[in-house]
Each structure stands twice: as structure tokens, then as C-alpha cells.
Symmetry: D2
Subunit: 367 residues, 4 copies
């Protein structure tokens, strides 16, 4: 792939820049026969939008999606589904004065190093608006998973030093919190922390946690196509992610085997279950039927309204004061992006795994 | 890909099981004209071997590699390089009694769920011996990088609670430490910790850190083919890895933008440099010319010599007491695997990126 | 890939149906720094349009292309280029009566067999309008090749029994002929033949020939990624193509080695040349620097205005009389599609081949 | 892919040169649970061997295959199957005098142009011995197809001017003919023709035809992943193939729509059938349930024992007289290679197509 195509059997191609005409995605490999309309997609895009909170960029975009192909009489046809969202609120002039300057923490310098020049308007292709295509495609993946009884729920686990407590988290709190934190007490503390950072013209980072429930056992390829490897690659492809962990994650470094091994038992329905889930639902790269638990660490938004030292394209050292409209914390808006990328990974692995057993193949085709 | 093929332009196919005839790899896409002999590969395989320390499995394998194709008169020809290592010290009978049992923390159950049955001898394809093919291929990738002046060094950063201190680490200590820890004082403490775990019939986890120096800026694709996303996917494909982070990693959650942004400056040679490296050498998925810093967390070896609760294939609940030869800690032997996977990712991204600019393409072909 | 994505390093995703909202393509992997505007694309789309001749469907579409991303200040940025053409002249009601019927020679039955249902309006995704995305992407590939001095010219070599004579063909005749035949006498005869077929409510087939000149030697991968294998796969992916041959093609069956081998000699500039070109510019899957000569056979348009025997979705045997707007011969309009697919194959192989030699790689990156 | 890897879900990596240590293949993506032993593979390799006829190279190789991985207790495990054949009868010194010379009709010059140097011993990687890996992998594909009731039969349709007559062909004749021609009278004539060519120190070409029966309808992706496009690409990747056609093939150029359209009818079992099969079993890139009929044209062996004009690496014009052991006609030995490549294409498309319909996916996983 050349960079903007993802997946093997459920394959997406995203396109578009922050300040271009429009952004979108083509989804190839969506099975035929799924009910799909624009409202299915819009619901996810709306969760990605800045919304009404003060913790998000004041740039207001309708982000109304149009389905251009691949759906006939309300159902997917099996052929590519193209979706598009127009840009309507570009303010490119905000960027003209940083056209020749490399903003710290941004991809300005590296794009220049790679391509020889760049679209400097709002980060161009490296903007967070690029995730529109991901979220639109992810909405279709979620629809497929929904038909199979698989549910994905992501939320903000941590902002700055404020971490949701396991015992205080409740799924219904997620949408009650402007920061998408399921522990409302910690959400309140994190809001105060953010207020302070905004006053300091600074920004904050955090962690998104994502749970996949209803997974069948046996999904994922051994060796390189491991389900966790694909999930990690997908999440690391989100701008600002600097770490990914699964199950017990980095804590395994200090655990012993006897503490970390999950014992097996048989449940009342005669299914193999684990008494704990330090593995995070994946053993040897293959789903074990338990919930998949994955976390991604997001760096603080690099666009801060403080003066910073940097250089320009001509090699001069300068001070830069970023303008424009920026989120003081990206984490709450990234929640739906994490869900989308997780859904894309799982659908692709589900489809890839369908030729693993001769008995199943024989059933599939009507021989 | 179907699971055991990796890469786009520098592509490897690994094969072989713990107790099969042999293991190996085919490397497709190695450029022509590189000096290569078996000693180049053997040096890396020898670093992967259990060695003489007591912290590794007593299974002794020569792991002698043979190059079967792709090299002529001491140079690579551009065609596939096949390499093979024979298994000589299999003791399959150690495993016969666990053939029908799902070992906790292992992939026994998930392989069965996926394929309907499994090669139970020593984990079959999910064994750590599968990494022989990775390391052999990685040795070639390291050779290519060496010709370009890129160096990769990995080491054990942490075992159990013992973390090498930044100021006490020295590259020359790595091979002095039986645990590959560059802080010899922490290595000593970790050794004592491991002794204790072995007496308790338990095992330990840890963290491997890997540094890539000499990178040019501009390597990596934006969006999905990001250099960090590919690196993370590669490292997560190593069995036992439960977390990966780059640069400041998970610590970014508690940092602010003003703390985490790396300012740019011009060095004496007129090159763009960063005054800090919290980014870990990658901005927007593309290398910035600074060192790449990446870490992977390894879980404690699941094979422990304690009685554990589990189930068998027939759905009965049983206690299992694992036998065989196992490493009390996998981390020191994983160091060279991390180097190999890192090298494979970087070579592939270097090659993929060669068509990014029209001016460079024009120079390439003799038009 | 899931069917509508093509290429490895210059990768396209096409989308859209005959009677949907619009059709388009995303091109990923286009190098940065190429001048590109909509007129570059439109010129190719205009050649694909029915035009004013009576040998083409009376359906009139403006087929005006919009570039939605990937171009900034008149130059490609290296990021995905999305292009779109709106459908404006759909007459879906022409198709409502054949919704439940399988038209002979069409993909109606096989789409139903594969997907369980189909978009019956004008063939949906299997319509010739699907080639709009290919031609738009091919126009960019042609632009890249033009910068490297590589030229691609396709034309109608044969319609029905009328074959252009080698000695009577002239490139400037191509656009003079309504059938794109460079031998105007044969073009005249073919026109009369077509008139007759149209009166008989019948259709005709033919052969498109394509010449690539200015190729460097050394492009194409050995074994599976052969340049001819990729070209053949690309051309066979055009609907209605039933055969592809290169150089001497099927005639080699009756030739001997002494007749068919092309001898080598040195030209005045000291370059290796072949005294004949039965190989068609490719030896062992790799370009030899000579012109590439390739031909594709197109079947007669299956939509004919005669009564035909067929079945319906319910399994009843029926007679069908096709309505709608159809080309009596597809060949002249396919000429630009053949050029596009050839250009896509060659650009992709050019890019893929850039990591074949260590000496070239060392030059590429500024080490 | 980098050239020697083929397929998406049933993926093979071949390796090895004519005069190297050994040759082989890794098959990744073979489903678990298929009975497989070396005799299954050997049967196909034996059909590829020169055999006892005088129409094949006198080089005698045992070509004994060893399965190195992926099979446990007589069944495939779902993990990579590595297979190897040792070279035992190399006579590299036959080639030393042509090391610096470009043989006409061979890939010597193009390999040099691409890689900067080449393995000159027996053509190295461009040798026909490279097909050993294809045939071994194809044997597994044939085994899978056999379990599904799909049969593939290839044979020599034409050698020189001698074409098997439709009405005189009988499958049981194939193995009776030293040239694998199912029309024994034409086989006899072709043998006499070959005797004459051998006396003239010349060689002959021909056509292989391949029939796939028992195909279900609905296999193949629309647009680029068409079944015919994949088949054509696979066959064109065989060295010496200069043309591929499906069904009526190149003859469609002179046919009319009313002649070429295959009418549909319902058979006694209520299945959709075609009254003719000019389509060759594929409509719109998707199988229609009828036999697939495909043909490939092979050029005459370029190695002839006559003096030929050529150039050497230093740019001097020379005469070359080829020595070594060569087939006067490659076609009969290519029959099993055509079967193998056809089987590989069909298995891959069968597997790729398994996620096309939501209803089937729901059945597949036990939700």
C-alpha cells in the first residue's frame, strides 16, 4: 500500500485534506445485503465533531456525509461504498503566516523532508480532519459487527493525571461526561485541570480504553497477522498516539507468570472461559472469546498558543506563535476514532480468517 | 497476507514449528549486490540462542543456518533468499501428556478454536522457535541498514521491578550482562530477582528498548503506513508482547503540550534538529532524522512449573503441571528479535518510500 | 484486495455504478511535485466519451471531472488524489423491466450468484461506465510517464474481419478514424461492416493494439511480478476482453526458435538493441528497452436489440429484448481504457522496481 | 509483493535457482484439516520432470520433494507448508563460457539491466526449474479443489502447426501421448515435426489448453480482481507464455453479438445453464458455473544449437553457440505448470470470495 489504503479483505482508501474541497473514503469489500443509510454513518461522524463543549476547537463543520455508491435500495451491493464530507469552514488564511515554518510537535518538517513541499493549510493531510474517512468507514464496520453481535465501546480512561477508577466506571456515564469519561468524579477533576491548561495556553494528553465484547474465539492469524498486532498497527496509525497496550499491558513487566496466567474453566453453557483476563482477550494473536481490552496513549495537542522555538524552511531559527482553532485536548474526540479503527481491524481479521478450515470452506460454497 | 508473510517491498515468509523437521524463511525483495554469507546470519542467530546462562531453557540447539538460494559469488542477486535451520534437539515426548490440555497463557486453546486441531509439540507454530526465521531475515535487513549507516541497538531496559537508569546505561555493558541490561548494577539485582523466581517455580517479565540511529528524515508514509504504526505492528507480532510505546510513550498522558513539544533548531552543519526527542524520532508517522526510540513490554513466560487450573479438549476441568525446557524470562533472548523486527520495518519503509518524489524518480531511471 | 483496488505502489481504488450518484477514483502513491489540473484528466475522459459518431451509445454524459484532494497550488502533494464525475443522464426506467432477467453475455447472473442480489440499473458496477475511474487514474499515470519520456499509444487494430495493415498504419490517422483505426482504408471498410451489423440489430468485436515507447530496460519483476503478467492482468480486467497477447503472441505456436529469437546488436550510441522485436519488448518478465507491443481482443457488445433466450431470477425461461442505449462496438471507446490500464501497470512496476539495487538505494537517500 | 510471492489468501513464496543448492516454496494460507503427504506432491513433480521421451532435456533430476513444516499427523495444520527439492545434477561448467554473453530470447540481458549482474548458471532464477515451487504449491491447491469437487485438466492443444481436433480429443489419450496431446493422430504428426526440428537444431512452440470443471457460480471479484484477470496474470507469469485467451478468445474479434452471446436455460435439476460456452465459464469476471476454458501460447525454446548473433557484457558483437541440456519443445512439460497456476488462481479466488455476503458470514462464525 502507498499509505492511505488499509486492510486486506475489508479495505478502505481515505483521502482529503484539512482545507481541501472535501474528504472521504472508499470502502471495498463490504459484504452484500447489509441495510445501510447515511444516518448510520452520520451518527458516528457527529460523535467525532467538536460538539458544544469548550474543550474542543471552535471550528464548526457540519460534516454531513453523502453515500455516493455501493448501496442500492437501502442495502449494500458488495461493490465499493464511496462516502464524502465537504469542507465548509476552512479559514486558510490563519495558516499563511506559518507556511514556511515548522511547528513543533507537528508533521510540517517531516512532510517537507519526504515530499519536498507540503500543503501547509491546517496540516493538510496530517490534520485530524483526515480521520473523517476512518470514522465513516468504521461506522460500516460497526454495522457489520453489530449484525454478528460484537459490540465495541471506547471511552476516555485518563486525562492528564486523572484516571477513571475501575469500580466507578459505568457505560452510561460516557455520554454524560463532556470528556467521555465513565467515572464522572474523575471527569469533573479532569475538566478543572483542562480549564487550567487552557488558561495557561497549554494542552493535555490522555488515554483511551476500548472494549470489544461478543467476540468468537479463533479470530486472528498466528505469527504476523496476529489480531493484537493488527489492532496495535491500526491504533498507532492515529495521529498523536504514542503507545498501545493490550490486557495487562506494560504492567506485565513487573508481574510473574503465576500472577499473569489466566486459568481456564468451563462455564455453565459448556464453553471454555478464563477466570481472569490479563491477556486482554487474545492469546497467541488469536481471540480467546473473552473481551478484548486495548488502550492507546495520546500526546497533548501540539498546537498551543505559547511562543515556541523553531526553524523555518530557509533554515532560520524563529519563534512561532500558533493561531487557528485547536482542541486543548484531543482525547474525547479521539474516542470514536479508536472505536472505528478497532472495528476496521476486527472486521478485516474476521473476513481474512474465513478460509482457515477445510470443513468450513466445504460448507460455504454449495458443492 | 495469510499470516506468515510480512512486508511490502522487503517481504519475508517464515515457516516451521518447534518440533518439526526444520524452520526457515524466504526473503523476497532484497536488493542485488550486497555481500552476504552464512556468518552474517549466524551471528544474529547465535545471539538468539539460549546461551550458557541459567536464565534460559536448557534445550540446546546448534541453530546452524544454511543459505539455499539468492546469493551468487558472495553477493545477493535480487532474487529470493531462502534460509533454513534444522531442529535437532526435539523432545516431543515431553509434550504428549499435555496434547489434550490447554496450557494457561499459551495459544493452545485459541489454535484449537481457529483450526480445529493443533500441533501440540512444544507449541508448534506458536513456539518461540518461530522467531528463528524472523532473526535470519532481520540479519539481512541489518546488513542493508549497515550499508546506509543506520544502526539498531536493543537491550533489556527492565526485568521485573528493576529498571536500567538512563545515566548508568552504557552500550558496551549489554553483552557483559547475562540479561542484556546496559546498567550492570540493575542487571545484578535483576539476576537475584530471577534466581528467586526460579526457586519459586515462577517466571518474570520485562521491557526491551530499541534505538535506531542514523535515520534520514522523511521515511514512513502518512496516514496508515506510518513508520510508528508499522514498527508497532511488527513488535506486537512477537509472541508475549503486550505493549509498545514510542518516545515519551504512555507518559504523554500526563504531560502538557509545552512540556512534550520538541523545539527545532539548526545544528552546526545546517541540519534541522530537535532540542529534545519526546517524539521518539517520528512526527506524523514520518522519521524526523532523530534517533527512533521504541519499547516493548514482554509478559512473564507462561510455562511455569507450578500446578495450574485449566481445561482439556473434552471440556473437563483439570490441573496441569508443565514439563519441558523453558526460559524463566524471555526478555534477554527477545532483544535480538526486537532488533530484527525493527530492522525489517525500517528497510521495508525505506524501500516503499522511494517513489514519493518525482524529482528522485527521474534521477533513478536513466532517462 | 477486495476487487476494486489495484496496484502496489501506485494504487487506485475505483467506485461507482452506471446509474448511481457519481463515479470516481482515489489514487494513492502519486509522487509529489507533478503539475496537475483537471484539464489533464478531462482530455482523457473526453476520449472515452461516446462522442459524435453513430458507432457509439446515444447516451450523452458530460463526464466532467473534479479533483477533490491531493493537489495544492497546481502540484501533486504525494497524498491521495480523489477524482469524481457525476452521473447526469441516467435513464433507469429503461432497465426496470429487465431487473429480474439475466441478459445473455452480461454479468447479471454471476453478480446474483455471488452477492445474492444486484443493482440492475445499466449493469450497475459491471457497466462500462466503471472505466471512468480507470481512465482518470490512467491520465495521471500518463502524466508521470510523460515526465520520464515514456509514451503510450493505443488504437483499433481490428474490427470484425478488418485488420489494419502494418504498412498502411500511421499514428496521425488514429484520430481521423471514427473507429480509431490507423489504416484509413480498413477503417472505411469496417465502418461499412458496422453499418450492416447495426441494421441487423447486431454488434461487432475487435482488437486493440498498444505500443509503449521510450521504456528503459530493467523494469518488471522476475517470476510472478513480471511486467507482461501485470500488463495481461490489467488488460484482462477490462470488461469484454477475452484474450491478450504480447509481441508475436499466439503466432509463436507455429514459429521455430531460430525464427522467433530476436538477435542482439549494439547501436551507434553503444546501447544493446534487438534486430527484431518478436518478444514485444519484454524478456523474462523484464523490459528490454524496446517498444512494448500488446494486444487485447474485445468481444462484440452483448447488448443487442434482437430477441434472445434466457431465464429470470425465478428460474423461468423467457425471451428478452434489450432496450437502453448501447454501443454497436465497444472497441474504439476501449482504446483509451487500454492506454490507461497499460500506463497504470507500467508506473506501478517502475515504482516497485526502485529497490532492486543496493547502489541505487544508496544514492537515493542522502546518506 | 517483491516478485516471488503470489496470492492473497492462499499465498505462495517460491525460491531457488537452476544451479543452486535446492529449490522450493512456502505455502501460507492452506486450510487446516486436509490430508497431505509427500506422495501427493511428488505425483505432480513427476509429471513436470523431463521423463523418458526424447523431446525433453537429457538433464535428469530426481526432484524428490520433502515437506518441512505445516503438516502434523498427516493433516495440514493451517500454518505454512514449506517444501524443498534438492538440485543434484547441476553442470554449471556448461555455462561458464556464456557467462558474459546475452543469449537471444533469454532473460540474460534484462536481468543484468535490472540487477547489475546475474547468476548465469542455467538461467539462474529465470530457469524453467523455478516452476518446481509452483508445481509443488499447485499440487496442494489441486488437493483442496479435489475436496470441493473441482477438477482441472490441461493438455497440449497445439505444437507447431498441429492442432488437436475437438472431435478427436479424449482425456485418456493425454498420458498416452509423449507430447500430452489428447488427439493421438495429431500427436503422431507433431512428433514427426519435432524430430525434424531437432535435426535442424531448432525448436518448436505450441498451445496448452486447460479445463476447470465443477466450478460453483459466483467465484471472482468484479472490476480488478476478476477471475479471468487473475488467471491470465498467473499464466502470463510462466516463462515463455506470449498469449492467453479464455473461451472463444481472440476469435471474438470476428464474431457478432448474436453469435457470441451464450443463451441461458434451466437444466433438469433447476440450475441456470448456458446453451453454449463462448464465455469460457466467466461472465463479468465471475464464474458462471460452466467449465472454465483457458489457453496459453508458449514460444519455441530459445535455447537452440545454432550459431546466433548477439552481444556480450562488454558491448562487443559476438556469435553464440548454446550448449547445455535443453528441451526442443517446452509445451508438454508446461502442461502441469498450467494446471498448477490455474489451481492456485482458483483456490485464491475461492478464499477471497468468502466474505462477499453477510448471510454467509453469519453462518460461518458460531454466533
Amino acid at each position: 500500500m502507498a499509505g492511505s489504503v488499509l486492510g486486506e479483505r475489508f479495505q478502505i482508501s481515505t483521502w482529503g485534506e484539512s482545507h481541501g474541497v472535501s474528504l472521504g473514503v472508499v470502502v471495498d469489500g463490504c459484504p452484500a445485503g447489509i441495510s445501510l443509510c447515511e444516518a448510520d454513518i452520520q451518527a458516528f461522524l457527529d460523535r467525532r465533531k467538536p460538539g458544544e463543549t469548550k474543550y474542543a476547537t471552535p471550528r464548526k463543520e457540519g460534516d454531513v456525509v453523502t453515500i455516493l455508491s455501493g448501496v442500492f435500495e437501502g442495502k449494500t451491493t458488495g461493490t465499493p461504498i464511496a462516502m464524502m464530507v465537504s469542507n465548509t469552514s476552512q479559514k486558510s488564511k490563519d495558516y499563511s503566516e506559518i507556511a514556511g515554518i515548522y511547528r513543533p510537535g507537528h508533521a510540517d518538517y517531516t512532510f517537507d523532508a519526504k515530499y519536498g513541499f507540503r500543503d501547509y493549510r491546517g496540516g493538510g493531510r496530517s490534520s485530524g480532519r483526515e480521520t473523517i474517512g476512518r470514522v465513516a468507514a468504521g461506522a460500516i464496520a460497526m454495522k457489520i459487527l453489530g449484525e454478528l453481535g460484537i459490540r465495541i465501546t471506547a471511552y476516555t480512561r485518563q486525562i492528564g493525571p486523572f484516571v477513571c477508577r475501575e469500580e466507578a466506571m459505568s457505560p452510561e456515564n460516557i455520554e454524560k461526561s463532556p470528556l467521555k469519561m465513565p467515572d464522572l468524579e474523575k471527569s469533573q477533576e479532569a475538566e478543572e485541570y483542562l480549564e487550567q491548561k487552557m488558561q495557561e495556553h497549554d494542552s493535555a494528553g490522555g488515554i483511551v480504553e476500548c472494549i470489544v465484547s461478543g467476540m468468537p474465539a479463533g479470530v486472528g492469524e498466528p505469527v504476523f497477522g496476529k489480531l493484537d498486532a493488527v489492532l496495535a498497527g491500526h491504533l498507532f496509525s492515529i495521529g498523536a498516539v504514542k503507545g498501545v497496550e493490550i490486557g495487562a499491558g506494560f504492567a506485565v513487566a513487573e508481574k510473574t507468570g503465576s500472577e499473569n496466567n489466566d486459568g481456564f474453566y468451563m462455564d455453565a453453557k459448556g464453553r471454555v472461559k478464563k477466570s481472569t483476563n490479563f491477556a486482554g482477550g487474545i492469546l497467541g494473536g488469536i481471540s480467546d472469546g473473552d473481551d478484548i481490552v486495548i488502550r492507546a496513549a495520546f500526546k497533548p495537542t501540539p498546537s498551543i498558543f505559547q511562543s515556541q522555538k523553531t526553524v523555518n524552511r530557509e533554515g532560520g531559527e524563529v519563534e512561532v506563535q500558533i493561531k487557528g482553532r485547536h482542541d486543548p485536548v484531543i482525547v474525547p474526540r479521539a474516542v470514536v476514532v479508536v472505536e472505528a479503527m478497532t472495528a476496521l481491524a476486527i472486521v478485516d481479521r474476521l473476513f481474512v480468517g474465513m478460509s482457515a478450515r477445510m470443513d468450513k470452506i466445504r460448507d460455504f460454497y454449495d458443492f
